[in-house]
């Protein structure tokens, strides 16, 4: 869709204008890091933030997601739960926009997931371009996520005095009609193009080969000793999947209310890196070896989804590598496999 622009001084009014109608979520500083939180005013937003601790997926696929409640009286009767809170995710970097875009595909595919889709359809996403690599281990350029390609309504790029605004959807157009936005003229387009050129050259490549080869490299490395070597560096804590914008595996649990016998079935984030993720009642554990679990995660990131959706399930944000106490970094592993 089209390219628009908004003057910087008008952004604050635009965002504050959304707050009465939407729950506005944006990056805020938490000591020396950042997190997506509900904000009360544009002032709270950290515009120049580096990659948040958790990705914004927590607002679309919350850690605890209630599926339905069960009232045993007269039935029982089951009531599905859907979260229809109108929400705006503001300030999402392009890697995280890619993450959401991938979740959109995954959760809509096959038997679609209405709990996600309901939240998603009530959520507007306003992206914001980062200006330089946020961390030493970010490899978004290699994973092709420097630039948003879908999954956003508006996407802002800093041009100094104003932002260029890519409009991704009809809902984005409607947002832009709230005022402050104007069609990009020739000058804005030139500046926008220049900014993109600058961004592209400002980000280094951190994988030593063209990632188009990644699925094949991973396929050939299935039995590589590298997986065994990683065994001794992993705790099975699942930090890596928790912080990953494209991980979505979950566990399903029942919870009872002690007073009333009512129960709630909910799901919560799970991790394929935990020891019992694939264990069954008979005692068999189909991925009992740590190295097998690690390989599974890496293959999902670099091969399986690429083959299914044409996009990697890794957006190169580098969060997993930064969260791992013994420094298992997807990018390093990708590099070593070719080495």
């Amino acid at each position: 869709m089209g390219l628009m622009a908004i003057d910087k001084r008008d952004l604050s009014a635009f965002i504050d204008g959304l707050i009465p109608q939407w729950e506005v979520v944006a990056p805020v500083p938490v000591e020396f890091k950042y997190a997506f939180r509900k904000v009360g005013s544009f002032q709270d937003v950290a515009l120049d933030y580096t990659n948040t601790m958790l990705p914004p997926k927590k607002f679309l696929l919350p850690q605890r997601d209630e599926l339905f409640s069960c009232n045993p009286e007269g039935g029982p009767s089951l009531t599905p739960r859907f979260d229809e809170t109108p929400r705006v995710l503001f300030g999402v970097h392009s890697c995280d926009v890619h993450g959401i875009w991938l979740l959109d595909d995954i959760l809509a595919e096959g038997c679609s997931d209405p709990h996600y889709l309901c939240r998603r359809s009530n959520t507007l996403i306003i992206g914001l371009d980062c200006k330089g690599p946020c961390h030493d281990n970010a490899f978004c350029k290699d994973m092709g996520t420097l630039k948003p390609a879908g999954g956003f309504d508006l996407f802002l790029t800093d041009l100094g005095e104003r932002y260029a605004v890519q409009v991704g959807t009809g809902a984005g157009t409607a947002l832009a009609e709230r005022g402050g936005f104007y069609m990009a003229d020739f000058e804005v387009r030139e500046e926008f193009f220049a900014a993109w050129q600058k961004k592209q050259s400002g980000f280094p490549n951190r994988i030593g080969y063209d990632t188009a080869a990644l699925p094949n490299i991973l396929a050939e490395s299935y039995d590589d000793i590298i997986w065994e070597a990683l065994e001794m560096r992993c705790f099975d804590c699942g930090a890596c999947t928790t912080v990953c914008p494209t991980c979505y595996c979950f566990d399903v649990l029942d919870e009872n209310d002690i007073g009333t016998d009512r129960s709630i079935r909910y799901r919560r984030w799970d991790s394929c890196q935990l020891q019992d993720f694939a264990a069954v009642a008979g005692g068999a554990n189909f991925r009992g070896k740590r190295s097998d679990r690690l390989r599974h995660r890496l293959l999902r990131k670099g091969k399986y989804f690429k083959e299914k959706f044409g996009r990697f399930a890794c957006v190169g944000c580098g969060r997993c590598g930064r969260s791992c106490l013994l420094h298992i970094d997807v990018r390093d592993v990708f590099n070593q496999l070719k080495g």
């Binding site: 339905f68 096959g110 566990d251 009642a281």
Partner: protein, 277 residues
């Protein structure tokens, strides 16, 4: 409450019509959907069974779609929270059912073939669905053979029915146990021991295998040695499952969701999945 979204995670309500102890660990249930509709399953498919306030577990449908009953049948081993709670429920209780899910046995491909059923332990539960389907559509299939292995004689499931199958024309049934007791006069040893005693025509035979994970490798070897075509071997694989609809990630074998593409797989597919066996 008419919502524009329908959640696949919300089960349909069903009644536990009968509950009968089969062995010390397994119970047999007849289940009827509350709205009176038929489950509409294929042999080899499974359902997600809910005990509200306890949880949900994937359980194979054990009855054949051809069976005359009003509902469908399950056979459940007391193995943990949900299965234990099911065992404790009195007849008439309300449970939840989602599904049927997954891919069952490929009926069209099997038609006209001799069928060799190989079942270990609880594997007979889903296999029973297919066996009774074949018995009820006897003309569609050639020779039928069931090889069934169990831990002890006391663990043998569906003894009456096994006898009935034995009496079906051109149906050969052989059983073995790992640990015999005094009264047992039959075979003792792993299921592969039964292969020596069966006469099959490998080129006409489709082999269906369901059992515990340790069983597959040895059975496959025997089957291939007997000359059964790889393309005519079907396996039903168990995995941890939570959602049943290809989302939660637990049942994945490499990039394949067992709840979507399985639990029944042609061996030719499984062979390409390093994590499968």
């Amino acid at each position: 409450m008419n919502h524009k979204y329908v959640s696949p995670y919300v089960p349909r309500l069903a009644e536990l019509v009968t509950a009968r102890q089969l062995t010390s660990r397994e119970k047999f249930f007849e289940v009827r959907l509350q709205d009176g509709s038929a489950l509409g399953h294929q042999p080899g498919q499974f359902v997600e069974v809910s005990v509200f306030g306890v949880g949900e577990a994937p359980i194979s449908v054990s009855s054949s779609p051809t069976s005359q009953g009003l509902g469908f049948e399950l056979c459940v081993r007391d193995a943990g929270s949900v299965t234990h709670a099911l065992h404790e429920l009195p007849e008439g209780s309300t449970i939840g059912i989602r599904g049927p899910y997954g891919r069952g046995f490929p009926l069209d491909e099997l038609k006209g073939n001799d069928l060799l059923f190989v079942a270990g332990g609880l594997g007979l539960v889903p296999m029973r669905s297919m066996i009774n389907y074949a018995v009820d559509n006897r003309a569609d299939f050639g020779r039928l053979t069931l090889l069934y292995g169990s831990r002890t004689p006391a663990d043998l499931l569906f003894a009456d029915e096994t006898e009935r199958w034995r009496g079906t024309p051109d149906f050969h049934v052989a059983t073995t146990v790992d640990l015999a007791d005094g009264a047992w006069t039959g075979q003792v040893g792993p299921i592969t021991k039964l292969f020596g005693g069966v006469a099959i025509n490998p080129v006409r035979t489709s082999a269906l295998v369901v059992g515990p994970p340790v069983m597959f490798r040895f059975v496959l070897k025997s089957l291939l040695m007997m000359g059964v075509y790889e393309s005519r071997v079907y396996l039903s694989l168990e995995r941890r499952m939570k959602c049943g609809v290809g989302k939660c990630g637990h049942c994945q074998i490499d990039d394949v969701y067992v709840c979507q593409k399985g639990p029944v797989f042609p061996y030719t597919r499984v062979r390409k999945l390093p994590e499968a066996l």
